[in-house]
């Protein structure tokens, strides 16, 4: 009799444990999955835009914006000045500021003595004195070297013996309307119409 009671108690106890364990597992699962949610991600990556310029004199890259040249005769002196937009990854517009001085401090304000031979086909001189490149530079062609001028014209024999200091500042800017607006309204540049129409 006592053994029967012991067996029954043992069975009931085991049953209780199983029931409690089952309930606890269900509760844990239930609370974990209390809310049903879902998430989808769409992603993209890449490199942010970059604009860079490099200047070349007779094919050699230079970090100096100035080109010096001693005048030896009244003729065209070959001096090939180019730029590229290597390492850029966006379409660009370009413009150049050029100033010519004698190293003795004499400022050349007109072309009477010396001038540069810059292509009117590729460049348009703006009313602000800058030269604006007539084409948009595609991001796929940024390694191309673009000629700014290829020679210097010496028009007056009194220039012979003097040394010229030609300062070339080439700048590039993203090719869109925002850039055009910034150049005109913020920087105060006077842009040729054909340059503005490139965007």
């Amino acid at each position: 009799m006592q053994h029967d009671n012991i067996a029954k108690s043992k069975t009931s106890f085991k049953l209780l444990i199983v029931l409690l364990a089952s309930f606890c597992i269900m509760c844990i699962l239930g609370s974990t999955l209390a809310w049903f949610t879902n998430n989808n991600d769409l992603t993209g990556d890449g490199t942010t835009p970059n604009a860079s310029t490099y200047l070349y004199v007779n094919g050699t890259q230079t970090n100096l914006p100035a080109v010096t040249q001693t005048i030896t005769s009244t003729d065209n002196i070959s001096k090939n000045v180019q730029f590229s937009c290597s390492n850029s990854n966006i379409d660009l517009l370009a413009y150049v500021s050029i100033s010519i001085n004698f190293t003795d401090g004499t400022l050349l304000e007109n072309n009477d003595w010396v001038s540069i031979n810059i292509s009117n086909t590729n460049w348009t001189k703006g009313d602000d004195g800058r030269y604006y490149y007539n084409s948009k530079i595609s991001k796929t062609n940024t390694n191309n070297k673009i000629t700014i001028f290829d020679s210097i014209a010496v028009n007056n024999e009194y220039a012979i013996g003097k040394t010229l200091n030609i300062v070339v500042l080439v700048e590039v800017i993203q090719a869109n309307q925002t850039a055009i607006t910034a150049l005109e309204n913020t920087a105060g540049y006077t842009l040729p119409t054909n340059f503005k129409n490139l965007v």
Binding site: Q2, N5, I6, S9, F13, L16, I17, L20, A21, F23, C24, C27, I28, G30, S31, T32, L33, A34, W35, F36, T37, N38, N39, N40, D41, L42, T43, G44, D45, G46, T47, T48, P49, N50, A51, T53, N87, N89, I90, D91, K139, E171, V172, I173, Q174, A175, N176, Q177, T178, A179, A182, L183, A187
Partner: protein, 216 residues
């Protein structure tokens, strides 16, 4: 019961049974309290909710008649002042009713490693004048009514014109050569989240309360 108490100590190899039972009882009580709090804490009525069915969505962009989860932006679309628009499609693929929200971020790793969101310079947005029923709340776009599988393919509800607008201060030109964001790795993430509608009580229309959104 008394007989159990007298006999149990004699069974030395079963000493683990009583502590186990006590532990289970404690866990049982703790679970009841935990679940009661979890289910009742943010609902107006004290009723536990059990949802049967699935909550699932599919989100993609159509490019050249192909579904893609990749957001391809040309670098020319990331220059200052640019606005790029794409069509985000959402399908409700689960069997349960749900709410849906969308977020977007543009992140740049200035140091090359750690990506930080610059949402003030490259802004993600949804044109809510076109995507009616969607509302911007605390930086996330919510559809303010319940959606279900029958809404899949409903362009007026689930085809969203998403836009990336690049600030003029982003700095991509030589005029702004010192910009720290030039030539850096970036990542875009657009997330479409959904949660069960049953029991969440976010409401709809003008009574929609996004603060009751639940997530696991």
């Amino acid at each position: 019961m008394n007989s159990n108490i007298q006999i149990m100590p004699n069974r030395a190899n079963k000493k683990w049974v009583m502590p186990l039972a006590v532990a289970l009882v404690v866990l049982f009580i703790a679970n009841i309290i935990f679940i009661t709090v979890a289910f009742f804490s943010d609902t107006a009525k004290g009723s536990a909710v059990v949802t049967f069915g699935t909550i699932s969505t599919d989100a993609y962009i159509m490019e050249n008649s192909t579904k893609t989860t990749r957001i391809n932006l040309d670098t020319n679309e990331l220059i200052a002042g640019s606005v790029t628009q794409k069509q985000l499609h959402i399908d409700v693929t689960g069997t349960g009713d749900c709410y849906v929200r969308v977020t977007g971020e543009f992140r740049v790793a200035v140091d090359g490693t750690n990506y930080v969101a610059i949402n003030n310079l490259v802004t993600f947005s949804i044109d809510t004048t076109t995507a009616t029923g969607w509302k911007l709340l605390d930086g996330k776009y919510y559809y303010t009514s319940v959606l279900n599988g029958t809404d899949s393919g409903n362009a007026s509800k689930l085809t969203l014109p998403i836009k990336f607008t690049v600030s003029e201060n982003f700095g991509n030109s030589s005029l702004d050569g010192q910009s720290i964001y030039k030539n850096k790795p970036y990542r875009i993430v657009v997330s479409v989240e959904s949660c069960q509608a049953e029991g969440t009580q976010l409401g709809s229309g003008n009574s929609f309360d996004h603060t009751k959104w639940v997530s696991n």
